[in-house]
């Protein structure tokens, strides 16, 4: 099936069953080559998992072992003390020899399936030396934070392969919600594992993964439902930024009336356009470091005119190329739909995590909870407020727009008429009091009455001023409404992207002259720098600081040449050296500089005054 950019809106009867609605608009998901996990059914996953409880005293307890766990036993009531975390475990702890075996089997499987991922220009080459240092710190932080064990991804890949060998089943969990004249179709996708870090150099790994997209329909002519908006859950984007209009052909690909989702490799995040997306992780630093960094950047950009520097931003790439397996209507693999709602027991009654609780304090490596809940067991916003999730709570369906505009306009017009009669009346009363006030002036015996009347008039003056302001503002609003009504009547549509503040766009992957060298350099530079420092300490300790300065300079210049930023780097280095020199000069010659400044001010003032005198 070809990708179409048609703006056709397939319709469905308003009273169509939920399953039919879901099937009519179900998405096509295009994965990246090398992806190992696809949307699957929770039943088989639960059967392959064990259920655990982690208690506040740090103890973990096995509640139901693998093969005994079912969706029915999962939702049984299990009273526990505050702070207890219930979680599933898809992969049991592996010994060293088991890990080695699993990793070897993973390599064999990939070579048989020929499903290998090629990163191309990797994320390391997309950031400079400073972000790479921060990245090294982030990697080292995994030694201190809780994390999913290294071989888990490989074991999960093998287990999932066996599950597929038994039954190749691709499931979405569909839900239909009717809110504020909108019909929201939610499609939830469950993956056994998120292998973004281990498989694709991303931020995190975790057992199980829940992803979701929503399609928003409205009742059009003749009682037919029409699609208007599509929202994909994605990293770092919220509200209005998540949704695209059905007819926005440059942003939304359709395949015979089905929206196409480009899934991030390993992360399974949903994207509207194929490509590689740069996700950024900011290191969680003490507030004083952030304040110092902000102050430096302000000085660096405002006073020195340089580009801002952010060494605490680590670039990660989410590969959503769409060059791998394609899943959905008309594709090589089809969906098995399952309708869910609050009455589905495993959806509403299991509040625990759907995979390993890795005890990661920043949660990146902990498994997610189900579609209805957050990790802490609180209700998930996208579940109870599907309109607010995509910023649609303030947007009426298209066919209601004109009616609401006319209603608004009529209300304001009526209020304006009231203001038109009220303002002269109040202003007249104010004028009468004003005359009275004037007549009291220059009569010392009326001072008290004058003050009292003045006090009485003050709020009246404010009120008249406020009414006039309101009248003027309403006129402007009416103008806007009138214009808007005209546009609606003439059928002129809005810019489909007017609501988006931050548009997720794939980064350009154009080849540069030194791409290969830049990639190799990015991979080895930090280690080389550390080797160089160790070498200096041992072999040339007398020249440690000079050597360090020279090595750093060499690294920075090499980096800038490979990244095509030589001129920019030269400017930045020189500016930095000039700042250091300026500080040294101020420290040594502050007295003379102060005197020179005073003499300068004196000469300036003298010149100004003399000009005034002679002019």
């Amino acid at each position: 099936m070809n990708t179409s950019t048609s703006t056709d809106r397939p319709t469905m009867p308003i009273n169509a069953p939920d399953l039919d609605l879901l099937r009519r608009y179900e998405p096509v998901i295009r994965f990246t080559k090398g992806e190992q996990f696809y949307p699957t059914d929770v039943e088989r996953y639960v059967k392959e998992s064990s259920l655990w409880a982690h208690y506040p005293d740090g103890r973990d307890e096995l509640l139901v072992k693998q093969d005994d766990l079912t969706l029915e036993s999962l939702v049984e009531q299990r009273p526990a003390v505050f702070g207890t975390v219930h979680y599933l475990r898809f992969i049991e702890t592996l010994s060293l020899s088991e890990s080695a075996q699993v990793l070897a089997n993973q390599l064999r499987l990939r070579s048989i399936l020929k499903n290998n991922f090629h990163a191309g220009v990797g994320r390391l080459a997309r950031g400079g030396l400073l972000p790479r240092m921060a990245d090294a710190l982030f990697t080292i932080s995994f030694l201190l934070r809780g994390r999913v064990p290294a071989a888990s991804a490989a074991a999960a890949e093998l287990d999932y392969f066996h599950m597929r060998a038994q039954k190749d089943n691709f499931v979405y969990y569909g839900r239909v919600v009717r809110q504020n004249d909108w019909v929201a179709l939610q499609y939830w996708f469950f993956y056994c594992y998120n292998s973004w870090r281990s498989g694709f150099g991303g931020v995190n790994d975790h057992e199980s993964d829940w992803e979701m997209i929503t399609i928003y329909l409205y009742e059009g002519d003749e009682g037919l439902l029409k699609p208007e908006w599509v929202a994909y859950a994605s990293h770092d984007f919220h509200g209005d930024d998540l949704r695209r209009r059905w007819d926005d052909a440059s942003q939304l690909d359709l395949a015979d009336g089905h929206p196409i989702v480009y899934a991030g490799a390993g992360s399974h995040a949903s994207y509207f356009r194929p490509g590689e997306y740069q996700a950024e992780v900011h290191l969680d630093l003490p507030s004083w470091v952030n304040s110092a960094h902000q102050a430096w950047n302000k000085f660096w950009t405002n006073a020195l005119g340089q580009q801002p520097v952010d060494p605490f931003r680590i670039p990660f790439v989410d590969y959503a190329r769409g060059d791998g397996m394609s899943l959905g209507p008309g594709q090589s693999k089809a969906w098995t739909p399952v309708v869910i709602d609050e009455s589905t027991p495993w959806v509403s009654q299991y509040r625990g995590l759907w995979g390993l609780f890795a005890k990661d304090p920043i949660s990146g490596e902990n498994a997610p909870a189900g579609p209805m809940y957050n990790r802490d067991g609180s209700p998930r916003g996208s579940w109870y407020d599907p309109l607010g999730f995509a910023g649609l709570d303030k947007v009426p369906p298209p066919d209601d727009t004109l009616r609401l505009l006319v209603k608004n306009s009529a209300e304001i017009t009526t209020h304006q008429a009231q203001l038109e009669s009220m303002i002269p009346e109040k202003a007249g009363a104010l004028q009468a009091l004003g005359i009275k006030l004037k007549s009291m002036e220059k009569n010392p015996h009326l001072a008290k009455q004058h003050a009292a009347l003045e006090k009485k008039m003050a709020p009246m003056i404010e009120e008249v001023r406020g009414l006039r302001r309101e009248y003027s503002e309403n006129m402007a609003i009416l103008e806007g409404l009138k214009e808007r009504i005209e546009r609606e009547k003439s059928g002129m549509g809005d810019d489909p992207r007017a609501h988006i503040r931050h548009l997720a766009m794939p980064v350009t992957t154009r080849r540069r002259r030194f791409d290969r060298a830049a990639e190799a350099w990015a991979a080895v530079s930090l280690s080389l720098l550390l080797f160089g420092i160790v070498g200096l300490v041992f072999f040339a300790p007398n020249f440690l600081w000079v050597g360090l300065a020279i090595i750093t300079l060499l690294f920075v210049v090499t980096e800038s040449i490979l990244r095509g930023a030589f001129i920019q780097t030269i400017g930045q280095i020189t500016a930095l050296l000039a700042v250091i020199s300026a500080i040294i000069l101020v420290v040594h010659f502050w007295f003379w500089l102060l005197m020179a400044a005073l003499v300068g001010i004196a000469v300036f003032l003298l010149a100004q005054r003399l000009r005034e005198l002679t002019g």
Partner: protein, 153 residues
């Protein structure tokens, strides 16, 4: 009547003039440094009379000639850069900025090893800040007109 071609001229920023004067003064100093060793060795009076090398080492005369030649090269290079700078060539900005950065690095290393040269440090600092001015960078096409980005190639 044939319309005259409109000639657009942009006013040269004051920082460019300051830097240009700086290069010119540096040229005069270098010129002095070219002549001084030759005077010291009496080359203008007697010509090159002695040997330049003694075995593998330079004689005082050879040393003076080498120093003089180096400074001659530097002063000529300075003049070429000055011409490029006044004609607002991009490469001139880059050469000058690189040279200033290099000189600042050497001066700072000397400072931290107890051999400060405050005059060079001050003049390099002034030149670095002058070259970093937004309008200077714009006129040399280092920065785009929006003032947000610096060209990277």
């Amino acid at each position: 009547m044939k319309r005259r071609k409109k000639v657009w001229t942009r006013k040269r920023p004051i920082a460019v003039t300051i830097v240009a004067w700086g290069i010119f003064i540096l040229f005069l100093i270098r010129l002095y440094q070219v002549i001084e060793p030759l005077i010291r060795e009496g080359v203008f009076e007697h010509g090159i009379t002695g040997p330049l090398f003694m075995g593998m080492r330079l004689t005082p005369l050879g040393n003076a000639l080498l120093i003089s030649a180096t400074y001659l090269f530097l002063s000529l290079a300075g003049i070429v850069v000055l011409i490029g700078f006044l004609r607002v060539h991009r490469w001139a900005w880059l050469v000058l900025m690189s040279w200033t950065g290099f000189s600042l690095a050497i001066t700072l290393i000397s400072y931290f090893y107890g051999h400060p040269n405050y005059i060079v440090m001050a003049s390099d600092t002034i030149i670095a800040f002058a070259l970093n001015q937004a309008d200077v960078q714009r006129i040399f096409r280092i920065r785009t007109d929006q003032g947000e980005h610096i060209n990277i190639n």
